[in-house]
């Protein structure tokens, strides 16, 4: 383990010398070594546990791995080097100042993400957590012209989250007097809620996720990918650690499931109506976190109501989904980087016809869409299937709360899944199919081969996970066993996945055969698309993003805050027709913004103190000293 981490630390040196290629290669190497060791911890009885003695007040700190950490560690070791590799090629295309510090903070972020998994001591954990937040803040700020406001919003939100964590940990310390992670088991409700909220900020649960759709779109593609695919999993790791060591009562589980449903629903409908590709992907991350939350809440319900099968299936699904999500979300974000490089636009309504211009990007995007919409052949199908099986089990159980929750969650999850499919069908269709809607898309061409390497790897991962569901399950089994869950349903699930693999492979084979036969025997003739005989077709004569979702968004009106503007045809002979709509984030608009405005107003009351004149500040210091003196004397 130490060799791997040593290599990762050494990678900071080429980072400071702007050698991003070497940086990426060192990360690949180091992560490979670490991954082996993580897997060893996962599958064997080998233990990585160190006690290091730090000076007070830290005391003796426990640094080590448990199966859960190893699980997430493997996910990080897969995702981070691919992201850095992509970043190397991406940054070559998008030259911006501050490459040195950007690479440095990338390295720090990677290290801190691994570090969080190792720290079993509260203060060390918080320190590494802060390092992670700060490093990601600098990464988001790479292109200052667009990202300043979003990045500041991000870091402030993260600090508020960290504040909740500190409050929770603080209460625990006051109660137990220890900094060790063992105090996390069997907590009282108050610190538990505070900690869950603190981790919820990072994981992206509604209403704490306003930062996500603002920060992820403005960050460079590789940073967005890493943050969306991997960093939110840190929050998830925290939540899972807490859930593994505590049991929630029925009311708490219901609240958790409610939050998860709202998160999933919220994420997906905003993903559906977003026209900016990265914004849609960011909202989709929120949706996926919601789905994981649904899985977790039903699993907890299973544990609470004594239905172990349900618990196992849902936890398996939730864990699988966290792994698979890291693959397809990263892929989609990297592809959005491709598109940005080629067309300089992320607005779907500017693009179109990119499948002809960028065929490989299109294929990878399609694979990513198959994964994220949980279509068979993609890995999302495997993980969501496990959650669905758990939900079916809930419905067939004799327990009334389980039945009610099962039905509601089943319906909502199916609805969310359908909307996700609509959202991504829309994105794929508008961006890649049809004709170019603007000169930006017209002039696109396929990007550098290097950028496609990590995308190729991720695509293979998605397809492999989708076709061979058993592999994913094997990866998750040790964690389930560690959580003390009943393992028999896993065997059943394994059997189902095996049969599924066979069916999928068979169908692929048949399809391939038919395709080859047709390719050889039938001569295809290509001719222009049938256009009703009109002689001057224009690119405007095809669907826009709004057109695709408009009929559905009509039903979702109560849930979306829309800002509309435009002119419609009033007179017999109108001169102009326009329409523009934008979805606003109500949490941001009605909670965060008023508070910031109020704070700004409050601080402005003191503006005459803050007037920038040194002699005034000295005068204030003097006043303060005099007051202090008076107080001491009294």
């Amino acid at each position: 383990m130490s060799i791997g981490f040593l290599i990762l630390f050494l990678a900071l040196i080429p980072a400071l010398w702007k050698r991003s290629g070497l940086f990426a290669i060192l990360w690949l190497l180091g992560s490979g070594i670490i991954a082996f060791e993580y897997l060893e911890v996962l599958y064997s009885y080998s233990v990585q546990d160190f006690l290091i003695s730090f000076p007070l007040p830290l005391g003796i700190a426990n640094i080590g791995l448990n199966k859960l950490s190893a699980f997430f560690g493997t996910i990080f070791s897969i995702g981070l080097p691919l992201g850095f590799l992509y970043g190397h090629f991406y940054l070559k295309q998008h030259q911006a100042p501050g490459l040195r510090s950007h690479l440095f903070w990338l390295g720090i972020l990677g290290l801190s993400m691994h570090g969080i998994l190792w720290m079993r001591h509260i203060l060390l954990f918080l320190m590494v957590w802060e390092v992670m937040s700060v490093s990601s803040f600098f990464l988001v700020m790479h292109d200052r012209s667009v990202s300043l406001k979003a990045a500041l919003n991000y870091i402030i939100t993260m600090q508020i989250g960290a504040g909740f964590l500190m409050a929770g940990f603080g209460i625990l310390y006051l109660q137990t007097g220890s900094f060790d992670f063992s105090i996390l088991s069997a907590m009282h409700s108050l610190p538990l809620y505070l900690l869950l909220i603190g981790f919820g900020f990072k994981a992206g649960f509604v209403p704490l996720a306003s930062w996500l759709p603002q920060a992820h779109p403005v960050a460079p593609a590789h940073v967005s990918g890493i943050m969306s695919a991997l960093m939110v999993k840190c929050g998830l790791y925290g939540i899972l650690t807490l859930l593994a060591m505590n049991s929630l009562n029925l009311r708490e589980i219901a609240v958790f499931s409610l939050i998860s449903i709202v998160t999933a629903f919220w994420g997906v409908i905003h993903a559906m109506i977003s026209t900016n590709l990265k914004k849609a992907l960011a909202y989709s991350t929120i949706e996926n976190m919601g789905i994981i939350g649904i899985g977790l809440s039903v699993g907890l319900l299973g544990l609470d109501s004594g239905n172990p099968v349900m618990a196992t299936l849902c936890f398996a699904g939730a864990l699988l989904h966290s792994f698979f999500h890291s693959l397809f979300k990263a892929l989609l974000f990297y592809l959005s980087g491709n598109i940005l490089c080629a067309t300089h636009s992320l607005k779907a309504d500017d693009l179109g016809g990119l499948a002809k211009k960028m065929p490989r990007t299109a294929i990878y995007f399609l694979i990513g869409v198959i994964g994220i919409s949980a279509l068979p052949l993609g890995n999302g199908f495997i993980s969501e299937l496990a959650i669905y099986f758990g939900l079916f089990n809930a419905i067939s159980a004799n327990d009334l709360p389980a039945l009610v929750m099962g039905i509601v969650l089943l319906g909502m999850m199916a609805f969310v899944g359908a909307l996700a499919l609509i959202a991504f069908a829309k994105l794929f269709g508008i961006i890649f199919l049809g004709e170019a809607r603007s000169p930006k898309a017209d002039n696109a061409c396929e990007i550098h081969r290097g950028m496609r390497i990590p995308q190729f790897a991720l695509s293979i991962g998605i397809l492999a996970g989708g076709v061979f569901g058993g592999l994913g399950l094997r990866f998750v089994k040790p964690v389930l066993r560690w959580m003390g869950l009943y393992m028999l349903p896993v065997l059943d699930l394994q059997g189902i996945y095996q049969r599924l693999s066979v069916i999928i492979l068979l169908m692929l084979l048949i399809f391939l055969l038919l395709y080859l036969i047709r390719r050889i025997t039938v001569k295809t003739v290509k001719s222009a698309t049938w256009g009703c005989g009109y002689q001057k077709p224009a690119a405007r004569m095809q669907y826009s993003s709004l057109a695709f979702v408009h009929p559905l968004s009509y039903f979702l009106k109560p849930f979306i805050l829309l800002k509309k503007s435009g002119t419609s045809a009033k007179s017999m002979h109108p001169k102009e027709i326009s329409y523009h709509e934008e979805a606003l984030d109500p949490f941001f608009r009605y909670i965060v913004e008023p508070i910031s405005k109020a704070l700004a107003w409050f601080y402005s009351l003191f503006s005459h103190i803050h007037n920038g004149r040194t002699n005034a500040y000295i005068a204030w210091c003097l006043v303060f000293l005099i007051l202090l003196l008076i107080w001491v004397l009294l």
Binding site: C532, K536, A538, R540, L546, I577
Partner: protein
């Protein structure tokens, strides 16, 4: 009340300024243009009508090739001024929608150079349909600007069927152009042919025989086409019963036409001077029985259809045309009458002095109103045919001899076709040869109504809105 058809010898050629002033006064008095056009001889004509009285004005082309548009005063001039600009390059300054009608504008090269109103917003998309449409239907291009499924704006480009009918009328003997007149719009063969025959008879100064049979032909065409429209409307809302019943009833009606003249569309029936095929007593008896049976069945089926809730939910409130728009655009026929406009050439410009005709109207102006009005008009026409069969003398005489067209005469005939008001005008020169022949099919103006009513409607309601107007592409294109 002006006679219909009417003729004028050598009308005064005014200066354009005086022409413009008199036209403005007529507009202010509530007159609406039946036609407004230029001729190759460099003259402008306008025939203005208001509830029975017609005014014909003539002027030379304005100097400088442009003038302040009359469309700014009433929108009913828009199509005519566009045609004038397209044909002769005379620019109406301040015209709200100066685009090509049948071919292309003076500055453009081809028909396909037509520029549609477009939106800059990326959220709005366009849907372009045609010219080759999905069904067996004439060609035209419809460009929608859509916000999702709702239509923000519809623009219609026609001209695909332009065959140069007005030029073909001038080739050869004007009195032998029945076949051409019938082919202006084949579904309005009798309407246009009757207008043509009346015009020729007026030019030659004779009165035709067999006016009763001609009325029967016109009204039977009206019944047949209204049944066709009801059948098509029922088909579009998946009311298969109505589709098949009305289609079969239409076959019965047009087969009755075939039994008299040999053509289901009434082609070859009328000719200048009278009719080619008269209705004998025996034929009259068969016709009466057939039409009485048709009448009962129409009532049965239409009452069932208009009581059906799924039909009503599609028809009601869809494609509403406001009364003010119908009046300001100068629309005629079912399009206008369904919005409450009381205008029908059988009432305003009757062909004979004895008949008093009161047209039916509806007020809602939506698809239901137009469909229901067709039902009522079909029954009204059937009653007219049956009463005509009762009062007519047996066996019409042969068509009257025509003679030669009078020289230096402008004649105008107006017929209420089943779509609306048809106007034919022609002028003979000093030796009696026709100088120009002008045709207005009601569809020329009425297409604007379709563009107007689609705003704010779902695009999936376009077929029933289109069918509820059922306008002629070729009648507009000539």
């Amino acid at each position: 009340m002006t006679r219909n058809p009417f003729s004028v010898q050598n009308p005064d050629q005014l200066e354009f300024l005086e022409f413009s002033e008199r036209l403005s006064r007529l507009i202010a008095a509530g007159y609406s243009p039946l036609h407004y056009f230029g001729t190759p001889q460099g003259l402008l004509y306008s025939i203005m009508g208001k509830s029975g009285s017609l005014e014909l004005l003539c002027s030379v082309f304005p100097t400088g090739g442009s003038y302040p548009a009359f469309s700014q005063k009433i929108l009913a001039f828009t199509m005519f001024e566009r045609l004038l600009y397209e044909e002769y390059g005379i620019k109406p300054e301040g015209h709200p929608w100066l685009k090509a009608v049948r071919k292309h504008l003076p500055g453009q090269d081809q028909h396909s150079d037509y520029e549609f109103l477009a939106s800059e917003s990326p959220a709005l998309h366009e849907v372009g349909v045609g010219p080759v449409h999905a069904g067996v239907i004439e060609p035209g291009h419809f460009r929608f600007i859509c916000k999702g499924e709702i239509v923000e704006h519809l623009e219609i480009q026609l001209g695909y069927q332009h065959r140069g009918v007005e030029e073909l009328m001038l080739k050869g003997d004007i009195t032998r152009k029945c076949s051409l007149a019938e082919s202006i719009a084949g579904d309005t063969a009798i309407g246009h042919n009757l207008a043509y025959c009346l015009l020729i008879e007026e030019l030659c100064g004779i009165k035709a025989s067999a006016t009763g049979t001609r009325n029967i032909a016109l009204e039977m065409e009206r019944v047949a086409m209204h049944l066709a429209d009801l059948s098509a409307l029922a088909a579009d809302v998946a009311y298969i019963m109505g589709q098949n019943l009305f289609a079969a009833l239409r076959t019965t009606v047009i087969n009755s036409s075939l039994a008299i003249c040999g053509s289901r569309f009434g082609k070859r029936w009328l000719c200048p001077g009278g009719v080619n095929y008269s209705i004998s007593t025996a034929q009259a008896e068969v016709l009466r029985k057939t039409l009485q049976g048709v009448e009962t069945q129409i009532i049965d089926c239409a009452e069932a259809m208009f009581a059906n809730s799924s039909v009503l939910s599609r028809f009601d409130d869809t494609g509403k045309l406001k009364f003010e728009d119908a009046v300001s655009l100068g629309l005629t026929g079912i399009t206008a009458k369904a919005s409450g406009v009381m205008a029908d050439a059988r009432m305003d410009y009757p062909l004979d002095d004895e008949s008093i005709f009161i047209p039916f109207t509806e007020n809602a102006g939506d698809v239901y109103a137009r469909a229901h009005l067709r039902y009522k008009e079909a029954l009204q026409s059937l009653k007219l045919v049956l009463s005509e069969l009762d009062k007519r003398d047996l066996d019409d005489p042969l068509p009257q001899e025509l003679g030669k067209p009078r020289p230096d005469t402008i004649a105008c005939s107006i017929v209420e076709g089943w779509r609306g008001c048809i106007v034919h005008m022609a002028k003979t020169d000093a030796i009696g040869k026709v100088e120009w022949y002008k045709i207005v099919d009601p569809s020329l103006m009425n297409w604007q109504a379709l563009a107007l009513v689609m705003r704010g409607t779902g695009i999936s309601d376009f077929p029933i809105c289109n069918k509820s107007f059922d306008l002629s592409y070729c009648g507009s294109d000539l």
